[in-house]
Symmetry: C2
Subunit: 350 residues, 2 copies
């Protein structure tokens, strides 16, 4: 493509800072591509002002773009769940982002909380394919007799063959394209027997199409153990929406912190734009100070560029970010947003 | 008490080995107490032979005891879910084990996968109070059109004010009795809004009864991050059945592995016997070789003794186990079941 129409949701807190930096990097890497951006004022500020989270008009406008770049939304003044359910998850569900892609790579220059005894065993490089449109995130459930001693609250995890199969097939395809060709299903099928067995049977069925991919299974509790004792065992992980949420935060911590963790909310069928965002939140405590690390957003931009068919530009961003990170002096004070951005821009020759 | 009637479920795999060792330790520590044990043949072997998981007679017999000591059940020949739902969880539900107690202490001699930079910050010593009778573990849900492209599988998390309040109050009482007096609620109330808000409101309400306890909240994904970057921040954690399952395996890994992790399935109202078991499973791959580490079962015995009012004996077991572990040479080969047991028995003067 020679042009790129981006819907930008900078959001709240450090969102605008990291998104601003990321757009500089994106433009530098995508030289020759006409990049047009449309700002979408969504998040806590908008909600405080108007009470709106995401209107039909917002959604229609976003749909007209090639992709969405999101910073972070939220502030402590918004009741829990309002923006998560009303904006973030609504976008993922409406735009059918059934592949929530979260690479976990321990890059040179990143600081892991794991011991050398664990890390010296080899490189940590895996990707979690988290289902993004079903499971415990569907918002089914409710509450009865709220606030009384007889209150009952339910949450329903909904899992369909359609929904599980498409994400499992995507994960297999990703595994098949990687050198190790290994897929690990994470669930808890010994307790959540209905959903778990659907996932298990689906993996067994789709496996027939990918004879070279080795398949492994871990209960979610065991998976957390291996993430800290043997993260090298993972290549591609496929799991449901909630387990994926938990595992990817842990994986981010293991590979240097959520300041470095990128994610793509991908609609592989391209019936709607995909959305790319750092895994971290709006971090209101450090907002406006120029200290937010934009690296996770840069890496999200790389995922975005790859998705829209600008693979070379994606590669340039990835290489520049990895190089800049490796250059950091771990003993020195953490560089600010501007310094991190300039280091990456310099490597992009901008 | 001068006597103790124990229902023993040694189970499968390494279960009989660790339980045998643990009963030696229990008898040595509880000198002067008449310890009577009734073996209950439950688990994979029984299921293969008879197709039974837990009969009404088994349950009635177990109920007649002061406490239950369980080793581990399961082998690869039993379909997933059969023993978990039909035996383990059935016991927890029938005996109303609403407090699933899981201490996490990094003991001298244990090997953590975390780096010195994290560990040097201070001792890791917390306890997870996992709800044991509700949440996603209730077994509600089902599946429709199984095996077809139109399959739908649901899992329903059921949470009641009654169930949440009693476990939250228990956790507050435990926090109030500890020097740091800190309670962390872990949930995901920004997504699982119905269940999450019930948990949150309940903590806020019960907090009034414990003005000296500091209360903190973490989303489950963030909690996994802190477990590996700042485990010292935790004192008492209270959470639901599934989050507790996940967090306690991760916590066990952080504090030296599930070979050391003890647990109590406690009925604080004493309407039925409580059950004590190591967090690990039956490990069929190493069964019968005398290499299983019985330490987790010893520590479970300490929890058991404490629960039945034999606090001094519990303290003796705890001290002996901690001492024996500290004596281990981390560079040497891992000691076998007999050697670990003898080291603890020697410290008990037996
Ligand atoms: C903010 C929240 C809704 C979201 C999630 O749970 O998916 C976040 O934790 C994430 O991982 O992107
Ligand atoms: C075996 C399984 C049912 C059990 C659970 O999920 O509770 C186990 O993982 C545990 O933590 O005791």
């Amino acid at each position: 493509p020679t042009s790129l129409d981006l819907a930008v949701v900078a959001g709240d807190g450090i969102g605008p800072e990291v998104v601003g930096a990321a757009l500089e990097v994106l433009r530098a890497a995508a030289e020759g591509v006409e990049v047009r951006t449309t700002d979408h004022d969504l998040g806590a500020a908008r909600w405080h002002r108007t009470g709106e989270t995401l209107t039909d008009e917002d959604l229609a406008s976003i749909r007209r773009h090639d992709a969405v770049l999101l910073g972070a939304v939220g502030d402590p003044g918004v009741p829990s769940g309002v923006l998560e359910r009303g904006l973030l998850l609504r976008l993922r569900f409406e735009l059918d982002h059934y592949v929530n892609l979260r690479p976990s790579v321990l890059l040179p220059g990143a600081t892991s909380p794991l011991s050398p005894a664990v890390l010296d065993r080899g490189p940590v490089d895996f990707v979690v394919v988290r289902e993004g449109t079903e499971g415990p995130y569907v918002g089914n459930g409710g509450a009865l007799r709220v606030g009384t001693p007889h209150e009952i609250a339910t949450e329903v995890s909904v899992n369909t063959a359609f929904g599980v199969e498409r994400v499992v097939r995507d994960a297999f395809a990703r595994a098949a394209a990687r050198p190790r060709q290994k897929l690990t299903l994470v669930h808890k099928h010994n307790v959540l027997v209905h959903a778990g067995h659907l996932w298990r049977r689906t993996v067994e069925a789709v496996q027939q199409e990918f004879p070279d991919v080795t398949v492994d299974y871990l209960h979610v509790d065991a998976a957390t153990i291996f993430l800290v004792t043997d993260p090298q065992r993972f290549d591609v992980v496929v799991t449901d929406n909630l387990f994926g949420d938990i595992l990817t935060d842990l994986a981010a911590a293991v590979t240097g912190g959520i300041g470095l963790a990128a994610s793509g909310n991908v609609n592989p069928d391209r019936t709607a734009p995909s959305m790319f965002e750092p895994v971290h939140g709006s971090a209101p405590d450090i907002a406006g100070q120029g200290v937010a690390d934009p690296t996770a957003t840069f890496l999200s931009v790389a995922l975005l560029l790859e998705h829209v068919g600008l693979g070379e530009a994606a590669g340039r961003v990835q290489t520049a970010v990895v190089g800049a990170l490796a250059d950091r002096d771990p003993a020195a004070a953490r560089p600010g947003t501007r310094a991190v951005t300039d280091a990456v821009l310099a490597r992009l020759g901008a």
